[in-house]
C-alpha cells in the first residue's frame, strides 16, 4: 500500500460506492413517493412497479451500505469485554475480528451469494411486475461481500487510517 496512485484509485472506488448508495437512497424515496402520488392523483395510472422496485432498492441499499458500515466500524457489537483486555490481547482480538468478518463475508456473501445468483438465474425466475431476473436482486450479496473482504484487508494494512473510535449507530439514532 505504498503506491499513492493505488491508494488514490482505492479512495475513488470507495467514493463511488458512497455515491451509489446515496443515489439508491434517493431513488428509493422517489419510488415510494411516486407510488403514493400515482394512487391519489387523478389522471395518473397507479403504478404497480414502485413497490417491487423499492424492495429491490432496499436490498441493494442495505447490503452496499452495510459494506461501508464495516469500513467505518459502524456495526453494533459488544465491545465491553474486549475493552477490558490488555493492549496486546486487545490487538489480537482486533485482528481476529477482522479475520472473522472476512471469513463470514467470503463464505456466506461471496461464495454463498454467488451460488445463489447463478442458481437463481439458471432457474429463469423473474419478478412478477417488472419481469426482471430474480438472480440480479441477489447480486447485491456477493458484491457487498467482495467490498467487505476488501475493507477487512484495508483495516489490517492501514490501521492508522481507522484509529478513531467506533461511532454509536443504532435504531436509537
Amino acid at each position: 500500500m505504498k503506491n499513492p496512485l493505488f491508494l488514490r484509485i482505492w479512495e475513488g472506488v470507495v467514493r463511488l460506492l458512497e455515491g451509489t448508495v446515496v443515489t439508491i437512497f434517493g431513488a428509493l424515496v422517489f419510488a415510494v413517493l411516486w407510488g403514493v402520488v400515482s394512487r391519489y392523483l387523478p389522471g395518473i395510472r397507479p403504478s404497480a412497479w414502485t413497490e417491487e422496485l423499492a424492495i429491490s432498492l432496499l436490498v441493494w441499499l442495505t447490503l452496499l451500505g452495510a459494506a461501508l458500515g464495516f469500513r467505518s466500524h459502524a456495526h453494533l457489537g459488544v465491545d465491553y469485554f474486549v475493552n477490558k483486555l490488555e493492549p496486546s490481547a486487545s490487538k489480537a482480538a482486533v485482528v481476529l475480528g477482522e479475520v472473522t468478518v472476512f471469513g463470514f463475508a467470503a463464505f456466506a456473501l461471496v461464495y454463498g451469494g454467488w451460488r445463489l445468483v447463478t442458481e437463481t438465474l439458471a432457474t429463469g425466475q423473474i419478478t412478477p411486475v417488472l419481469q426482471w431476473p430474480m438472480g440480479w436482486l441477489y447480486a447485491a450479496a456477493p458484491i457487498s461481500g467482495i467490498f467487505i473482504c476488501a475493507f477487512c484487508i484495508e483495516h489490517l494494512l492501514r490501521p492508522a487510517a481507522f484509529s478513531s473510535p467506533a461511532s454509536e449507530l443504532s435504531l436509537a439514532d
Partner: protein, 442 residues
C-alpha cells in the same frame, strides 16, 4: 439440547464476547449450525435468508423514518418543540427539568428515534439546566432516560422491527398501543424528577436552595399560543402520519415516505435550514444507519429459520412453562431476562433475537402480541440508559461531556421510575390495548 443448538449458542456467544459485530455473530452461528445439517448448502441458505429477510415492504418504513429524523434534526425543529414544551411547564418549580422530559416526548412523537432526541434536546438543555443550578450529571441522566419515551410514542422504528419479526402483528396497532405507555413512562420520569428535586436535592442541584423552588425564574416563559404556532408544522406531521395510517389512507411505509417529503419541504423551503448541497451527506448518514439496522434484520432472519428448524422456541416455551404456569411469574421472569440482556446488548438485536423465542411462550399464556411488543420495548428502553452498553447514555454523556460513573447516582431514581412504569405496563394490559381496540385494530 440438540448438538446443533449447542453449536449455535456456543458460536454466537463466543463471537459476541470477542466484540465481533452482532450481525456477523448471528450470520456465522447460523452458518455453523446449517453446516451440521449436512444436506443443506450453508452459504447459499444464509445469503438467501439475508436478502429475502430485507426484501419486505413493511421494513421500507425504517430507512424513511431514519431519514426523516435526520432531516428534522438539521431542519431547526428541535428548538421549536422545546419552545413549546417550555411554554407549557416552564413556570413550575423545576420547570426546566420537566421541560426536558416533555421536549424529548414531543421530539419522539415526531421522529421516533432516541439518540437523535438525546443529541438534539441534550445539546441545548444540558447547558441550560447547568446554568440554572442543576447538576450537569442530573441533566445528562434526565435527557438519556427521557429520550427513550420516543421509542414508545409513535412513529417508532423498533416497533416496525418487532412487527416484522413477530410475523403478523399490525404496525398500526403497535403504534397506537405505544401512545399511552409512552406517556406513562414520561410521567414516571417526571415523578422521579419531582421526587429527586424534593427528597434527593443533593443529587440534582448544585446548592440545596437553587431551582427546586421557584424554578428558572430568570427565563421569561414564551406565550403558549405563540410557541404552539411555531411548533405546529412539526406537530402536524404526527397528525398526518398517524391519521393517515389509522384512517387507512396509506400504509406505514407510505406514511414514512410522506414524512420524508414533509421534512424536506419544511427544512428546505419553510425553515430554510437545510441546504441542497447538504443532502448527499444526510442521505449517506441515513443509509449507513439503515444498513446497520437492516443487516441485523436480514441476518436474524437466517438465525430464526435455524431456530424454528430446530424447534427452539417450543423448547424454551416448554422449559419456561415447566418452571411456572403462572403468567405473572413467567412475565416477571421474561422481564428480568430482558433487563439483563438490555444491559449488554443494543435494543435492535435484542428484539430481533428474543422476540421469536419469547413470543410463543406469552401467546401460549394468552397475552396479546401487541402488548408483549410494548412490554419488551419498554423493558429494553431501560437497557439503553444502563452501562456498559447503552446508546442513549453514551450519547448523553458525550453531549454533556461527563462520565458514566458520575451520572449513575442521578440516574438511579429515574431507573426506578422507569421500572415502576414497566411493572404497570406489564401487568395492566388495557394501558397498551385500549387504544388499538378503540380503533378496531385488534
Amino acid at each position: 439440547m440438540s448438538p446443533e443448538v449447542f453449536i449455535l449458542v456456543l458460536v454466537f456467544g463466543a463471537l459476541l464476547v470477542l466484540g465481533i459485530p452482532i450481525a456477523v455473530c448471528i450470520g456465522l452461528a447460523s452458518v455453523a449450525t446449517i453446516l451440521m445439517l449436512v444436506e443443506l448448502p450453508a452459504g447459499y441458505m444464509v445469503a438467501q435468508r439475508i436478502s429475502m429477510g430485507i426484501a419486505s415492504f413493511p421494513l421500507l418504513a425504517i430507512p424513511f423514518f431514519i431519514l426523516a429524523g435526520i432531516l428534522m434534526g438539521e431542519g431547526g425543529l428541535a428548538r421549536r418543540l422545546m419552545d413549546f414544551a417550555f411554554s407549557l411547564v416552564g413556570r413550575f418549580p423545576g420547570g426546566l427539568a420537566y421541560m426536558n422530559t416533555l421536549s424529548c416526548m414531543l421530539f419522539g412523537a415526531v421522529s421516533g428515534s432516541a439518540a437523535a432526541a438525546v443529541s438534539s434536546i441534550g445539546s441545548f438543555m444540558i447547558p441550560q439546566m447547568e446554568q440554572r443550578g442543576y447538576k450537569r450529571e442530573f441533566a445528562v441522566a434526565l435527557t438519556a432516560t427521557s429520550a427513550t419515551t420516543g421509542l414508545l410514542i409513535p412513529p417508532s422504528n423498533i416497533m416496525i422491527v418487532f412487527a416484522v419479526v413477530s410475523g403478523n402483528v399490525s404496525v398500526a396497532a403497535l403504534f397506537l398501543g405505544g401512545v399511552l405507555p409512552g406517556l406513562a413512562v414520561g410521567l414516571a420520569i417526571m415523578a422521579g424528577t419531582w421526587f429527586t428535586l424534593r427528597v434527593l436535592k443533593g443529587v440534582a442541584l448544585q446548592t440545596p436552595a437553587a431551582p427546586g423552588d421557584g424554578g428558572p425564574q430568570a427565563l421569561p416563559t414564551p406565550g403558549v399560543w405563540k410557541s404552539f404556532l411555531g411548533a405546529t408544522p412539526s406537530l402536524l406531521l404526527v397528525v398526518v402520519v398517524l391519521g393517515g395510517i389509522l384512517g387507512g389512507v396509506f400504509s406505514a411505509t407510505e406514511a414514512s415516505a410522506i414524512a420524508v417529503a414533509y421534512c424536506l419541504i419544511l427544512g428546505m423551503v419553510i425553515y430554510r435550514e437545510i441546504k441542497p448541497s447538504a443532502l448527499p451527506r444526510l442521505l449517506l448518514k441515513g443509509a449507513l444507519t439503515t444498513a446497520v439496522v437492516m443487516l441485523l434484520v436480514g441476518a436474524s432472519q437466517a438465525m430464526s429459520w435455524v431456530l424454528s428448524y430446530e424447534q427452539v422456541p417450543q423448547m424454551v416455551s416448554q422449559a419456561m412453562l415447566s418452571l411456572s404456569a403462572n403468567p405473572l411469574m413467567v412475565l416477571l421472569l421474561i422481564n428480568l431476562l430482558l433487563l439483563a440482556v438490555g444491559v449488554f446488548m443494543d435494543m435492535t438485536p435484542a428484539v430481533l433475537i428474543f422476540t421469536p423465542i419469547f413470543l410463543p411462550v406469552v401467546v401460549e399464556l394468552g397475552m396479546d402480541p401487541v402488548h408483549f411488543g410494548i412490554v419488551m420495548i419498554t423493558n429494553l428502553c431501560i437497557g439503553l440508559c444502563t452501562p456498559p452498553v447503552g446508546a442513549c447514555l453514551f450519547v448523553a454523556c458525550g453531549v454533556g461531556r461527563t462520565s458514566i460513573v458520575r451520572v449513575m447516582p442521578a440516574a438511579i431514581p429515574l431507573f426506578i421510575a422507569m421500572l415502576l412504569a414497566l411493572l404497570v405496563i406489564t401487568y395492566w394490559p388495557p394501558l397498551s390495548l385500549a387504544l388499538p381496540r378503540l380503533f378496531g385494530l385488534l
